[in-house]
């Protein structure tokens, strides 16, 4: 926008200043308004210089002429009569005042324009800074928006300065043309015309013109120097912003809620880039000028290359930094956990060049490389990127979305020979586990714009490549650790010596995990509990956790991270809403829990996560007996398996505590601190279908609830007691010791009560009749068997048994297609035979501590985990119990010892475990073992457990696809060579530089002896023509009178002054002077 227009759009306060400026000025505002564009386009400053009175005169007369034209133009109608009058008067006044001293007028206009610009700057800064009276660099409350404003303001200033420089350049061009013409006309070398006074006068004029030209050239150069200096500051600002964005992106990868859009950065980088490229063109044009006309000590010749190198370096640096990875590598279904890739799975990654400048006719090619510079770690896996690894960024098709290299649908494949030298799998592996191996993808872009050609390069954050889903959790732990602690985002050997994490940092990152999974981070109290769990009572902000402590070791058989990730999984699947709404207290130690509940009335309960079980949640409530200390009771934790069939609010609503002589009651009355249960959980209860009594019903309604039973007058006081008691509570809900991780009290404690109590709920829907100590048919190892026989002829029931204690579970509410919940855990020697309703039979015959978990409802998980010799024979009835027939089922078989599993569904289609994934079964039994799921009619499945990863399904009519994940993974460790740090840069430098010679004496002032012998040559000694002199160019002889001369006529020509000897003054200060 033209300056005068901008001035007019200023705020009132600043407009007032403009009015004041013109109130005192000899140039009436009406003239300024009338000839705004022309006035702004002239170089008044230069015309105001002494020696250029001709230019000033020309400008002055042009102005008068233009005014005259304006007056005579017919466009001015009657209504402009006054305007015409004012213009006429102004013209007369100007002529009277400045006719004789046009350079004064030029100076006046130049100063006015400068003052206008100053007011404009103030006004614009004020407008941006809002109410701030002065643009002082004082730290503001919001540094971010402050910085944004600064950048915008500086970009605006940069643009203005660039326009100014271009304008100066155009004048220089004109000036040079005029000189060139005059020179060719008047300068006639070869003849001696010194006697001709006319000629001498002409030469003097020429000399003066050249003088001005020289000064103007220097002025343009100074302007460009200044411009470059300011753009360097701008560059630093932008790089700081970019760095802040990088850090934000890194945090966002870890789940932090932060804004990572690139739009403002892209705008800024593009604007600066564009300006700098414009500047580059200007420099090239300056160089052209110099080719047309040059003279001895032409500043253009010397300084333009310097400026160009500086500018190119700046541009290159800017472009290189502006190439960023916009989207870090991520699998499409794991958006919350990027940077973990699985071989064979698709992933995407994209990079963006923030400087959106591209030649129309030039395509740029982007390529990606994985581990271009792999770390020298023994056994470091090598991968190939499948599908295309290059992409062409065409011109034009990126106008909207910017210069983006978007790579979708990539997959990784491990190179066959990548493990060479390791002596086979499992042997001689280095210290880096698969999940600690960090890989990088590097983008390269062959950039070319306006003659500047560069190869730009950027790298992703390091990522982990896994081959199996169950490595995901520990892979994510690595990603967390790296991004939390590493300062060098290319450090692929980070896990050779992983640093410990300071607790405050770790706490923040852990909180983000909860926030990203369930929209609510960890509170102070939560973090306090976690800190105490990790560091004991001496936890402090200085505490730091070692990597091994975080992800590997754990007193309870699983690591801290595994425990936390279990909880995260539980939250994600089942408790998201409760957690988000703050109903789950979650992380409370037992000690703390007692403290909290002690003062509350009986029936006050809280929900917390189990510390002993992976992914468990439990309720603890307080009871105040008539006499004695308050008692605290907790239920054996619920895990995903249980919550899949019944949501936690429903469990709480219907929870019953059974004491032999009392009627069942729900002990959970008030959610801590004192919210009535139904008030707190009401919104989360699932709808009950009230029975319609009038309707003839096939079945009675039932619902699934949780109960605990205990002996009357039992009480628990100490914490140890509480633990035992919890065990003794005989929750019908079964403890899924899925990984066999923790059964602290063994079977002994449980047994005494085991067979004693049986409760059948919900209108006696089923009954369990365990017959102990009898050898099961065909199974010699199992000494006991359990046969629950339901009394009534009720519809499909699947009992849940646990060495003598069973629970009848009735899923669903209606009578149609009840969803089946089957949970079988046999922990003692015994055989469990469940025959629901006499229609179907389910036989589970595990040996020692075999555990069978079949939960096929929604999630569809079947987890038979026979630990010893055991046999499992679920024989479902003909009709209802559909084992995992609805949903995708998953069969997870882990037999630690010799084990046998024989699910024998009687009818086709009864057992259809449909694996989630591509049908890979990897049972990894440690010893010899056998796994035989044999669907009777359907087909046969015979995994050969001796060698991991082999599955031989023999499908019949219906093909049972068994998907099972190997548990108890064998981590693939590989050799790691600890390398000494890469050759030190410093050493290199050391070799390059030499120390200052140690000065033994002081008092001698040490002056750097930088005296480049550049152009030292005296003027007199210079002759000879510049080789570049082409036909049109004019070279001036050094003896020529055209050489720059001092403006002051009284001074001699500079050149003549240089004959003096180079007697430098002494560089010493005489010490005696000061004493």
């Amino acid at each position: 926008m033209a300056q005068w227009q901008e001035v007019q759009s200023l705020a009132n306060a600043h407009l007032e200043q403009v009015h004041r400026l013109y109130a005192d000025a000899a140039l009436p505002m009406v003239v300024r308004q009338c000839l705004a564009a022309w006035i702004e386009d002239q170089n008044w400053r230069q015309a105001a210089e002494p020696l250029s009175s001709s230019a000033a005169r020309m400008l002055f007369h042009s102005l008068l002429a233009l005014l005259g034209e304006h007056l005579g133009s017919p466009g001015l109608g009657d209504e402009d009569f006054m305007l015409k009058h004012n213009l006429r008067k102004a013209r007369r006044d100007l002529q009277a005042t400045f006719e004789e001293r046009p350079e004064e007028f030029a100076n006046l206009v130049a100063n006015l324009l400068q003052e206008e610009r100053r007011i404009l700057r103030l006004g614009q800064a004020g407008g941006q800074a809002g109410a701030a009276p002065a643009p002082s660099p004082a730290p503001e409350s919001n540094p971010e928006s402050n910085r944004e404003q600064q950048i915008q303001q500086r970009l605006a200033e940069f643009r203005t300065a660039l326009q100014e420089a271009e304008r100066t350049f155009r004048h220089l061009e004109e000036q040079q043309d005029i000189f060139d013409f005059c020179y060719k006309v008047h300068y006639l070398p070869g003849e001696d015309r010194t006697s001709d006074p006319e000629y001498t006068r002409q030469i003097q004029v020429l000399q003066a013109k050249l003088q001005i030209l020289d000064r103007q050239r220097r002025e343009v150069l100074a302007q460009l120097q200044q411009l470059l200096g300011r753009s360097e500051t701008l560059r630093d600002f932008l790089l700081q912003e970019l760095q802040a964005w990088r850090e934000r992106q890194q945090r966002a990868c870890l789940g932090a809620p932060t804004d990572t859009h690139l739009r403002p950065l892209e705008t800024w980088f593009t604007e600066l880039g564009q300006g700098l490229f414009q500047l580059l063109q200007l420099l090239r044009a300056l160089w052209e000028l110099q080719l047309q006309l040059t003279y001895e000590r032409d500043p253009l010749k010397a300084e333009t290359p310097l400026l160009e190198r500086r500018l190119k370096e700046l541009l290159t640096f800017l472009l290189q930094r502006a190439f960023v990875v916009e989207q870090q590598p991520c699998m499409p279904n794991a958006c919350k956990r990027p940077l973990v890739l699985r071989t064979g799975s698709k992933f995407s990654v994209s990079a963006r060049l923030l400087v959106r400048l591209q030649d129309r006719n030039h395509d740029m090619e982007a390529k990606i490389h994985i581990d271009r510079d792999p770390p020298k770690i023994k056994g470091f896996r090598k991968f190939n990127i499948l599908t295309s690894s290059s992409k062409t960024l065409g011109a034009g098709d990126n106008s909207k979305e910017g210069l983006v290299c978007d790579f979708q649908y990539l997959t990784l494949k491990e190179q066959k020979d990548s493990r060479t030298g390791k002596g086979g799998k499992g042997a001689g592996e280095g210290p880096l586990a698969v999940t600690e191996e960090l890989h990088l993808i590097t983008f390269t872009l062959a950039y070319s714009y306006r003659g500047l050609e560069l190869e730009l390069e950027t790298s992703t954050l390091p990522f982990v490549i896994i081959s199996n889903n169950n490595q995901l959790s520990s892979a994510w732990a690595s990603i967390l650790w790296f991004n939390m602690l590493s300062s060098d985002t290319k450090e692929q050997q980070f896990f050779s010596t992983p640093p410990p994490a300071p607790w405050p940092r770790l706490a923040e990152v852990l909180s983000w995990q909860f926030e990203s999974v369930a929209d609510r981070g960890l509170s102070e109290q939560h973090l306090l509990m976690l800190a105490e769990k990790l560091f004991g009572s001496k936890a402090s902000p200085e505490s730091a956790l070692a990597w091994n402590k975080f992800s590997k070791d754990g007193a309870s058989g699983f690591s801290f991270w595994a425990w936390l990730d279990g909880i995260l999984g539980l939250l994600q699947e089942h408790l998201k809403q409760l957690w988000k709404d703050g109903l789950i207290l979650g992380f409370v130690s037992r000690k703390k829990e007692k403290k909290l509940l002690k003062g509350k009335r009986t029936g006050t309960f809280l929900i917390r996560f189990s510390e002993s079980i992976l992914g468990g949640v439990t309720c603890t409530w307080v009871e105040h007996p008539e006499s004695g200390a308050p008692a605290f009771r907790a239920v054996v934790p619920y895990t995903a398996a249980e919550l899949a069939s019944l949501t936690l609010p429903d469990i709480i609503r219907d929870y019953q505590l059974l004491v032999e002589e009392n009627i069942p009651e729900n002990p959970l009355q008030f959610l801590y601190p004192d919210t009535p249960r139904d008030e707190a959980f009401g919104p989360y209860y699932s709808q009950r279908q009230d029975g319609n009594l009038t309707e003839q019903k096939k079945y009675l309604n039932r619902r699934l609830i949780r109960v605990s039973s205990r002996q009357a007058n039992e009480s628990w006081q100490t914490e140890e007691d509480l633990v035992t008691a919890t065990e003794n509570l005989e929750t019908l809900q079964l403890q899924p010791s899925g990984l066999g991780t923790r059964q602290p009290h063994g079977l002994g404690t449980r047994q005494p009560h085991g067979l004693g109590t049986r409760q059948v709920m919900s209108g006696n829907l089923g009954m369990l009749q365990p017959s102990s100590a009898g050898p099961p048919p065909g199974m010699a190892a199992s000494p006991g068997s359990l046969q629950p026989v339901p009394q009534s002829l009720e519809p499909p029931q699947l009992p849940q048994g646990r060495s003598g204690v069973s629970e009848v579970l009735q899923p669903g509410v209606g009578d149609l297609e009840p969803q089946v919940v089957l949970q079988l855990v046999t922990s003692g020697q015994g055989m469990l035979q469940v025959g629901p309703a006499g229609v179907g039979t389910l036989q589970v015959m595990p040996g020692d501590t075999g555990i069978l978990q079949a939960v096929p409802q929604d999630v569809g998980m079947l987890q038979p985990l026979p630990r010893d010799v055991g046999m499992l024979q679920p024989v479902p009835g003909a009709v209802e119990p559909q084992l995992g027939s609805e949903a995708q089922g998953m069969l997870q078989l882990v037999s630690q010892d010799t084990g046998m599993l024989q699910p024998v569904p009687r009818d086709a289609g009864m057992l259809q475990p449909v694996p989630q994934d591509a049908g890979m079964l990897q049972p990894v039994p440690r010893d010899a073992g056998m796994l035989q799921p044999v669907p009777q009619d359907a087909g046969m499945l015979q995994p050969v457990p001796q060698d991991a990863g082999m599955l031989q399904p023999v499908p019949g009519a219906v093909e049972p696809q068994v998907g099972s994940e190997a548990q108890g993974m064998l981590l693939e460790l590989r050799d790691l060579d600890l390398l000494p740090g890469s050759p030190d840069m410093q050493e290199l430098l050391q070799s390059l530089t030499e120390l200052e010679p140690g000065s033994g004496t002081l008092g001698t002032l040490e002056a750097a002896e930088l005296m480049p012998d550049m152009s030292e040559t005296m003027a007199g000694g210079l002759e000879g023509l510049s080789p570049e002199l082409a036909g049109k160019a004019a070279l001036l002889d050094p003896h020529d009178p055209f050489l720059p001369q001092p403006e002051d006529a009284s001074l001699p020509v500079i050149n003549s002054l240089f004959a003096g000897a180079a007697d430098f003054p002494p560089l010493h200060i005489d010490a005696s002077d000061f004493q």
Binding site: L306, Q990, L1002, L1051, I1054, F1074
Partner: protein, 378 residues
């Protein structure tokens, strides 16, 4: 007509202000001759020069032939009110020839021209002519640190009045005490010496880059053992012995010039520039940097060792070819300006910070001379 008369008033006012300044300056000169009591004199000087500095805004200096280095130094000199306070009291040489050859006088003329003119920049041609008489030629690239010493010495030498010379020395020179102690017999020699700049190395003895200006200062003042071929002759032992060389800071001047030795010599005599990052603070407290052993001054002197940054002379380009500009914080307005020959613009501390340097950018501006100013005692 109203407009016009208004304008005349303004210009009159300006003239008036000018006249006042000139009168005050004349007064100063007179008063000096009359040997008035020094306190009143000083007061008047600050009065005058408080106005004088930047009265006309920051004014540029035209490049009249690779004079960017000279221009930058001139700006640093002339923006320093403590220096101009001395400069304005010089005796004017009587003869025209002498006038033309007198560096301080020409400098004063230049200052007047900058302050009185209305142009955005003035040409230092007369001054460069004067310098060339004394061997400082045009069209030669200078090292700013070296040219600073040359200029300073010329000014000092050509000032006729002894008290001004003394003031000038007091304003700029650093006093140090050099200790040499024989490691064999604890024979110690002390020597006081003066320096105009603190030439700070940017690399330590292992060629590792020092991290901050404070590190450089500490490294500069660290004691050094002179062994092997550096051994000195000990008069007491009668032979060459290893010596411990140490330096104590005795006096710091009002205007402290620090020279960052960014130009580095190699065995091959090829000079290269160290462009790496070296931050310097706006406020510098020598008491916090030097240890007790490294100071040889009394508490009074040390209490004044609080400095704030006044100017940065920055260099861009390579050793063989480059450009100088100066960042100067006006002592009256407390605003930063950047002087690029004829181009002057107001900048911020962020712009000055850009001269810290950057290890991967070799052509950008890097601070070369740092001029710190003693803070006013509070």
């Amino acid at each position: 007509m109203g407009q016009r008369s208004g304008r005349q008033e303004i210009s009159k006012r300006l003239e008036l202000a000018l006249n006042e300044t000139m009168k005050a300056e004349a007064d100063v000169q007179n008063s000096k001759e009359e040997a008035e009591e020094p306190e009143g004199k000083n007061q008047r000087i600050t009065l005058v020069f408080g106005v004088a500095d930047l009265k006309n805004g920051a004014v540029g200096l035209y490049n009249v032939g690779q004079t960017c280095c000279l221009n930058s130094l001139l700006q640093v000199f002339l923006m320093n009110i403590h220096f101009t306070g001395i400069l304005r009291r010089i005796t004017v040489p009587p003869l025209a020839v002498e006038k033309r050859r007198n560096v301080p006088y020409q400098m004063l003329l230049l200052l007047e021209k900058m302050q009185c003119g209305k142009q955005k920049a003035v040409s230092p041609i007369a001054f460069t002519y004067c310098l060339s008489v004394h061997g400082v030629k045009l069209f030669v690239q200078y090292d700013a640190a070296q040219l600073f010493l040359t200029l300073w010495n010329l000014i000092k030498k050509q000032m006729k009045k002894l008290d001004l010379v003394e003031e000038l020395s007091y304003l700029y020179t650093i006093g140090v005490q050099e200790h040499l102690a024989c490691q064999k017999c604890s024979f110690e020699t002390k020597r006081n010496s003066s320096m105009l700049t603190l030439p700070l190395p940017l690399l330590d003895s292992n060629s590792h880059m020092l991290k901050t200006l404070e590190d450089c200062l500490q490294y500069f003042f660290r004691p050094e053992e002179l062994t092997d071929e550096n051994m000195c002759f000990c008069g007491q032992c009668g032979r060459k012995t290893p010596f411990l060389q140490s330096m104590k800071l005795v006096h710091l001047p009002q205007t402290l010039t620090i020279h960052l030795k960014r130009f580095c010599f190699e065995k091959s005599a090829y000079i290269h520039k160290l462009s790496h990052y070296l931050p310097f603070p706006q406020d510098l407290d020598f008491n916090a940097i030097l240890t007790e052993n490294q100071c040889g001054a009394d508490g009074n002197e040390k209490a004044g060792w609080q400095y704030e940054l006044f100017a940065v002379v920055a260099h861009s380009g390579s050793t063989s070819f480059g450009h100088y500009c100066a960042y100067i914080r006006s002592l009256t307005e407390c605003k930063w300006y950047c002087f690029n020959d004829s181009e002057v613009c107001q900048v911020s501390w962020d712009d000055v910070k850009c001269t810290y340097g950057h290890s991967s950018l070799h052509w950008g501006e890097t601070a070369y001379l740092l001029i710190y100013m003693k803070k006013r005692p509070q």
